[in-house]
């Protein structure tokens, strides 16, 4: 028990609060975007969800990372991908997840 606990600790990432990688192997190291400056006045893009498709089941109601269908790719998705509601701009995340 001690041994597996140690391994678990070693695999913890403080940025993601996940147990499948450590701080030095965190996707945030490379998944870091240079964002556009926020437009002064609000445009439709700030409040409206873009066209969304699921890479797993093809539905246009969610991204692949939030798919509830069985995953068909045999490669596991442990730490999330680009195609997730959490990768939308901040102001759209609430609309998406509600």
């Amino acid at each position: 028990i001690d041994c597996s606990n140690k391994a678990r600790k070693k695999q913890y990432c403080r940025t993601c609060d996940l147990f499948n990688h450590d701080d030095d192997n965190c996707p945030n190291i490379w998944r870091s975007y240079l964002l556009n400056k926020q437009p002064q006045q609000h445009s439709l893009k700030d409040v409206q969800l873009p066209v969304i498709y699921c890479y797993n089941c093809g539905d246009s109601t969610h991204f692949g990372d939030e798919c509830k269908e069985a995953r068909t790719s045999r490669v596991p998705n442990l730490s999330g991908s680009a195609f997730s509601g959490s990768n939308l701009p901040q102001q759209l995340r609430k609309t998406y997840f509600d």
Binding site: W30, N36, P50, V51, Y55, G58, S60, F63, S81, P89
Partner: protein, 347 residues
């Protein structure tokens, strides 16, 4: 001095684009990779002399084909027409005539002996019996390889569409050229042995960029985020995308990217194996552009492998000391450039 150190430490013969372009001081690894991608693209982009040589080959052939067949017109398509060619790429041409009869065996041999007699072609091969009859040859002056096909305008439609996408999508050209060179160095770019062709590669890149949650919301600009986008391209097609369930497609009216469910489009599915890449032809909804790309297993594996190599490299360089980072390449783990050293063009 840094530059001397760079040249002393690295095997620049394998990734020559990093020579005198060191980005190891970048705080963000993603920015380093973005810059390296831009360096790679400028390294493999043709020089003015190469462009002029290619243009003159095409111009002469167009004129001379007109001499041989006055009622026919020769056009370029493929990577030459879209400016997405790598050093040493073939030039694709198509001859379209008023009568539409240039594809017959007799005419093919007529043109090939005309080109030979005018000393416009060497190593000529007439492939008359194939589904798409072509003449293959080499330009005697430049040694550029050429393919001439006949009476098929679908390549011209595709080139027009690609040029439109390139105009409206910053970053698309860079992503395509890197993925093309990646596939080429793994020998997975040849459709005759199940690889991924140029048009399919472009569609995969464009479709991915347009669907990206940060791009579709105009939250970021693709050309400023090429590093992360390259890794995420490999993440999507090498790890997550359901090749079993989905068709890559575009809306016929709006041209916006979408996925179709395979079971609803049985006519597009030729293969009995569900694990097959299906890309609907934007100009012909009943046609699957990738029906020859039967080696999806290796294509997906190579994309997944590229994802792993790139992220491992990012993690390593992220925690490496400044000294260890100098002169290193990120892209070099997935792309090697072999062949004649090229002049750097920083134009």
């Amino acid at each position: 001095n840094d530059e001397a150190q760079v040249n002393a430490l690295t095997p620049t013969s394998l990734y020559p684009w990093i020579k005198a372009h060191d980005h190891s001081k970048q705080k963000e690894i993603a920015d380093w990779l973005t810059m390296e991608i831009k360096d790679f693209v400028s390294y493999i982009s043709p020089s003015k002399e190469e462009i002029m040589a290619r243009n003159s080959v095409v111009k002469t052939l167009k004129q001379q084909i007109k001499v041989c067949w006055p009622d026919a017109e020769a056009h370029v398509f493929g990577s030459f027409a879209t400016d997405l060619y790598l050093p040493g790429s073939d030039i694709d041409m198509v001859v379209v005539s008023k009568n539409g009869d240039c594809e017959n065996r007799h005419k093919l041999y007529q043109l090939s002996s005309f080109l030979r007699s005018k000393k416009l072609a060497k190593d000529i091969e007439v492939i008359a019996g194939a589904k798409v009859p072509i003449i293959k040859f080499v330009d005697p002056k430049t040694n550029i390889h050429l393919d001439i096909s006949f009476e098929r305008t679908n390549g011209l439609d595709a080139a027009r569409r690609i040029r439109k996408w390139l105009e409206t999508t910053a970053g698309l050209r860079e992503l395509v050229l890197v993925v093309k060179q990646f596939l080429r160095s793994r020998k997975l770019n040849n459709v005759h042995v199940g690889g991924l062709g140029g048009y399919a590669t472009i569609i995969l890149c464009y479709h991915f960029i347009k669907m990206h949650p940060r791009v579709s919301t105009e939250n970021m600009t693709a050309s400023e985020n090429l590093g992360t986008l390259l890794i995420e391209f490999f993440e999507l097609y090498g790890r997550n995308f359901s090749f079993d369930n989905l068709v890559i497609a575009f809306d016929g009216k709006t041209d916006s990217p979408k996925y179709l469910k395979k079971y609803k489009y049985p006519s597009l599915i030729a293969s009995r194996n569900p694990f097959a890449l299906v890309v609907q032809d934007p100009d012909d909804p009943g046609n699957n552009i990738t029906r020859s790309s039967y080696n999806l297993r290796d294509i997906k594996k190579s994309f997944g492998g590229a994802f792993q190599l790139l992220v491992d490299r990012c993690y390593y360089l992220h925690s490496a000391s400044y000294k260890k980072r100098i002169g290193q390449s990120i892209l070099g783990d997935i792309i090697k450039y072999k062949g004649k050293e090229r002049d750097f063009k920083d134009e």
